[in-house]
Symmetry: C2
Subunit: 367 residues, 2 copies
Amino acid sequence: METNIPFPEPLAPRFSGLATDLYQLTMAAAYHAHGRNDRASFELFVRKLPPERAYFVVAGLQQALEYLHTLSFNAEEIAYLRSLPVFANVAPEFWDYLREFRFTGDIWAMPEGTLAFGNEPLLRVTAPLIEAQLVETFLLTTLNFQTLIASKAARMVAAAQGRSIIEFGARRCHSFGAALYAARAAFIGGCAGTSNVEAGHLFNIPVYGTAAHSFTMSYEREIDAFRAYHEVFPETTTLLLDTYDTLNAARMATEFGAKLRGVRLDSGDLVAFSKQVRAIFDEAGMQHVKIMASNDLNEFKITELLAAGAPIDLFGIGTELSTSRDMPALGGVYKLVELERNGHTEPKMKLSREKATYPYRKQVWRQ
Amino acid sequence: METNIPFPEPLAPRFSGLATDLYQLTMAAAYHAHGRNDRASFELFVRKLPPERAYFVVAGLQQALEYLHTLSFNAEEIAYLRSLPVFANVAPEFWDYLREFRFTGDIWAMPEGTLAFGNEPLLRVTAPLIEAQLVETFLLTTLNFQTLIASKAARMVAAAQGRSIIEFGARRCHSFGAALYAARAAFIGGCAGTSNVEAGHLFNIPVYGTAAHSFTMSYEREIDAFRAYHEVFPETTTLLLDTYDTLNAARMATEFGAKLRGVRLDSGDLVAFSKQVRAIFDEAGMQHVKIMASNDLNEFKITELLAAGAPIDLFGIGTELSTSRDMPALGGVYKLVELERNGHTEPKMKLSREKATYPYRKQVWRQ
């Protein structure tokens, strides 16, 4: 489950210090006013595995590190903060501190692609208290989301039993930025590629695509659409069959012979259609044509399709993968576990009933 | 439900043409090769309302327009596309076309904040076919997500019966970019503000914050933490009460008297605790202290809390709002409805059983 993605340069030349929750900045101001900036250790972990998940696949570390590496506050951002009434009583020295702010702490973390379980720290920050606190929101956002999607992808990859899964979910993602990171996390989780061209470009992930119903509909006759597409992509055509009549379209597609790479089914009874379409191509001597299925698939439906003997060669998965629809949020938390004071390390723990935490830094052992 | 947000400049100086699904670009190449670029109309709509939703609140139009306004392909992006094996047979003229590409079409759309229902076009694009097709993915991503969150926010605002709701969900959002747009959409849906400082800065949304458990834990005694915070924020302190013992903390908080603005409860039985905490402050003559509740709340829990008489004044809502946890994806689609050919407008419709579409452009009438 380990992976090696050749990572690009950071996506942003600089991450803004405003990319956080306000209370991180009010706490920072309070710590600063009281000269409290001793080294602290925070751990980022998920208390327990969500339902239907047996493990996590860690992802997002690269973006977390890019953030820590470039984090700063520019003059305009500091002016915005000073304009907020909540900071009316904060001393000018705090703004001087933010102007010079750089993250100087240390990070321990699981490599991306690592399997992890509940209550295991995915990442630990040891840094001056203010720095360690300020970065909480962004670190949680980044690791929570990418780990969520990588873990969901791994489930689908396992269900597909060796068949390829392509991430197709950009249009249902939570902003196009989310789509980029979903594609990346899905690849770390074992997907073969993505439909997202910018993700392919930025993260060096294989990109895949077929055609849309609108392409077929834009031609007067379906066969004209198929021919027009095949003429431009003679070696790589995957025809979409279900705009009007799936089986009729499959029979038309047999005219493309040896050069047709695949067909896609995006509606209807995928078990019945895939078997009938397979039979049409096999009878035409086109055993090489791959059948791709899409249409709100997930790991449970993949399992059912394969159990029913559907001759599907690859799956295009959108919403269920790219938003982790059955569990769209990972509840990772970031908790203070140690604090130095006067050169002495103190353990820290919270006692509230549902949210107690364990004190001291922890090490996750991997063989 | 209409709103007026003073919008900032576009977040990106230029949106990349690669921010799309690969098949939009393969279809574009096929259309280009065959000289097919007559004007087409596509409509963006959601087929039906999701469960537990009685309406949509439209959001995301501003970002959709920023995208259309700045969309282009630079030389490096075109070089990347040309490096993909799928484009091996595409004529050089297509790359010339992309180099000069600008969106020249027309847009009709519902204003942000409008209520909408199933099968109503939220946005219509009329443009040369290639342009109209290329922009599909980004438009869907943007309107699907922001409309989803604005609609969820409106439900929570209704449930709160006049009490304020603050969006607190950045750490559970699908990337920090998603967190920005979730904050914006939540504000359009009626929330009073966000914890997300960058969203406050970019979109001119009020920002709110309290303090975290780690702040309390970083002091040897809880009362020292409360005093340290109050000293820096004497006019605006909201103390977090549930790090160790909620009622004990409430009694300690009475020492801050008239200047204490509020307290936050983030765990435990919110009905019982809010009543007990209210009684402690009322007995101390501190009727002005507001009680904020957080901890995985949603519109159903808000309704229950208020029905049980919980004296909660405002709600901080994270995951359930910012990821729309019970329905984390809006299945908006973008369908070809008209195509001009030789100066003649042809209706377009798809006939596949579950996914049939209505032909011709539609107008949604609002009084």
